[in-house]
């Protein structure tokens, strides 16, 4: 499915609009960004389990080891905390490492180095040092990956000052945000969605960066604002098509960066539509949806015509059975249901939505 890119992208984010013709997949966009960054800057290197093997992390690092040598593209022991610390050390000594994890579930192993070290180093030392480290990690859904291989833990990192968190949903953003992350002087958690790797879309050949902290309007609309994160942006677009048939016109915002968050873009939209739904790939409690809801409830409350709703994975660990997965993961159906619910609702009739 094609993700419509609104013209607003060209004004609110850097880079040209979608009508360009060079088409690449999300996977290729990531690989191209890595290759270009490594080409231009000898400080950039790529490390992680399997980055140099035939699978090449779903193909996103394919050919890099051959091209740049195994000193700059190398496999690591399965020792996430130590390896993260080693990357931080390399960053402190002038390198710009890109550390790759096949699944976001492995980040808790390295939480100490991420939270207590990478996030703290610059501030704690009064700005005298910094940690230009990019941590790529992958989320996904389906095929019974179950509780330990499926988590979408972005909120844990958004909570921590000193970290940046981005979640690109289009090939265009994947390239622009990866280049921006590598160029950033701070640790960035770069979250990819496995279901997006085959998506294709416009990707300019030249290098470009998308400023971290800038969201984008994927679709303009007047009836409700749906803030949709990562793969949920596609679910929102699907929902929009269906809702359109019922004469309902939603605005879709893809924040792209979760920390910092482009809350102004969201506020502006809510001021227009008066209704807000946040669709996240992760859990609800203290999640990204909570943060967005809280900001709107603080800074744009008076514009709301209906309760704020969050769409997220169920309040349970991830099940294996596909029958339960259907219930666990939210989809366009949930968005459609919730938009309709809100349109029939005044702020005084809450009746909470199931998720």
């Amino acid at each position: 499915m094609d993700l419509p890119v609104d013209k607003v992208e060209s004004t609110r984010a850097s880079g040209p609009a979608a009508e360009g013709k060079r088409t690449r997949t999300y996977r290729e966009a990531l690989r191209e960004a890595l290759a270009q960054a490594m080409e231009r800057d000898s400080r950039v290197f790529v490390a992680g389990q399997g980055v140099d093997d035939p699978g090449a992390v779903f193909g996103t690092t394919k050919g890099l080891a051959e091209r740049f040598g195994r000193q700059r593209v190398f496999d690591t022991p399965i020792a996430e905390n130590g390896i993260t610390g080693i990357m931080i050390g390399a960053a402190l000594a002038g390198m710009r490492p890109v550390l790759v994890h096949m699944r976001m579930d492995f980040l808790p192993m390295s939480m100490d180095q991420i939270v207590n070290h990478a996030a703290k180093w610059r501030f704690m030392f009064g700005g005298r040092v910094n940690v230009p480290l990019t941590i790529r990690c992958i989320i996904g859904r389906g095929w019974g990956a179950a509780a330990q291989h499926s988590q979408s833990l972005q909120a844990l990192f958004v909570h921590i000052p000193g970290l940046k968190v981005v979640m690109p949903s289009t090939p265009y953003d994947a390239k622009g945000l990866l280049l921006a992350s590598i160029a950033d002087e701070n640790p960035v958690i770069f979250v990819e969605h496995r279901w997006l790797f085959d998506q294709s879309g416009y990707v300019p050949e030249e290098e470009y960066v998308i400023p971290i902290g800038k969201g984008v309007i994927r679709r303009k609309g007047r009836d409700a604002t749906v803030v949709a994160i990562s793969h949920m942006a596609y679910e929102a677009c699907k929902a929009a098509e269906s809702l359109e048939k019922d004469g309902i016109d939603i605005e879709i915002i893809d924040p792209r960066s979760l920390s910092p968050l482009d809350d102004e873009l969201i506020f502006d939209s809510v001021k227009k539509t008066g209704r807000l739904i946040i669709a996240d790939t992760g859990w609800k409690n203290c999640g990204v949806g909570a943060e967005i809801a809280a900001r709107v409830a603080s800074d744009a409350l008076g514009y709301l015509k209906a309760p704020i709703r969050r769409i997220a994975t169920a309040d349970t660990p991830t099940p294996c059975s596909f029958e339960l997965e259907k219930e666990f993961y939210p989809s366009s159906e949930d968005i459609i249901f919730t938009v309709k619910e809100l349109l029939n609702k005044s702020p005084l009739s809450p009746q909470p939505y199931r998720r």
Partner: protein, 311 residues
């Protein structure tokens, strides 16, 4: 012993056969090639002894007495599975048989076995814990922390490292400064041995000593069992075509097939005649067929069951 090895082998072969139908939607990490280890170790264990296992855990579970029907139902995401369809292939548990659970986090299971052993000591019972893990788990800090604690407190644990030389596609030499894992483990002041993990008799005897030692309160033992996985890291296919590993390496190890070797030994020594072997094979095939039917015919969980069992 032969029956058990055969059961593990044939169970996994059945998974290979069924998987392409795409209705067993759970990532499978097959145990084919490792059978001698689970068999040799677990046949020394009592029903209430503990085992912690990893992503490649089918063999450990069968060897510890778990029911293949309920395992297969679990792989199919059925309500009748060991975990009501919530766990899948990577997550099996059976408190009745002492299976503490299989963790798909590399290195995650070691401390669990150590903790269960701590409980055994505190409760004053004689239960022994076995931690099964791969060479990949040796990379992790939890390896160090678990071995140190177990030895410090002289806990009844046997650490069984199934060294198949690879973690996904990463060779041991790309990950370990010391290729001799057993020697690394010696640093924690516990007896440590390296054995041929494809020789079930050696595994059995080494494990017997280690388990007896643990049971008699003398503390932990480390066993490195060298072996090889035949299939891809995950899934039913072989990965040598994809260039993940040298074909000759696989061929060498297939020649040293643990099941075949034990079969030949039994025949050579006239312990079990060919006819009885065939009968055993038939019996296992039947068990597995029954398991498949049970699993396929079992109901799926209902969506609302998702919300159960969180707390």
């Amino acid at each position: 012993m032969y029956l058990l090895m055969l059961r593990i082998r044939k169970f996994e072969e059945k998974v290979v056969e069924l998987y392409p139908a795409q209705d067993m939607r759970s990532p499978v990490h097959l145990y084919i090639g490792h059978e001698a280890i689970a068999t040799g170790v677990c046949l020394n264990l009592r029903k209430d002894d503990y085992v912690s296992s990893n992503h490649r855990g089918h063999g450990h579970c069968i060897a510890k007495g778990m029911d293949m029907r309920l395992m297969l139902a679990e792989f199919y995401g059925k309500k009748t599975g060991y975990c009501k369809g919530k766990g899948g292939s990577m997550h099996l548990v059976d408190p009745e048989n002492g299976v503490l659970g299989t963790s798909a986090i590399v290195g995650g299971g070691l401390p669990l076995a150590v903790g269960a052993a701590l409980a055994s000591v505190m409760q004053g019972n004689e239960r022994v814990s076995v931690a099964f893990f791969g060479d990949g788990a040796v990379d992790e800090g939890s390896f160090h922390e678990s071995l140190n604690f177990a030895s410090l407190k002289k806990l009844p644990v046997v650490f069984v490292c199934e060294n198949n030389f690879y973690a996904t596609n990463s060779h041991q030499s790309a990950r370990h400064s010391n290729n001799d894992i057993a020697c690394l483990a010696e640093g924690y002041m516990m007896p440590s041995v390296c054995v041929d993990g494809n020789d079930v008799i050696t595994v059995f005897e080494t494990a017997r000593n280690a388990i007896n030692r643990a049971r008699s309160g003398k503390g932990p033992t480390f066993m490195e069992c060298r072996t090889y996985r035949w299939k891809a890291h995950v899934g039913p296919d072989c990965d040598v075509e994809k260039g993940c590993r040298p074909r000759e390496e696989l061929d060498q190890w297939v020649k040293r097939c643990p099941v075949k070797r034990f079969r030949e030994l039994l025949l050579d020594e006239n312990v079990l005649p060919e006819s009885e072997m065939l009968e055993l094979a038939r019996q296992v095939d039947e068990e597995i067929e029954e398991a498949v039917i049970f699993a396929k015919n079992s109901p799926l969980p209902s969506p609302t069951e998702l919300y159960e069992d969180v707390y």
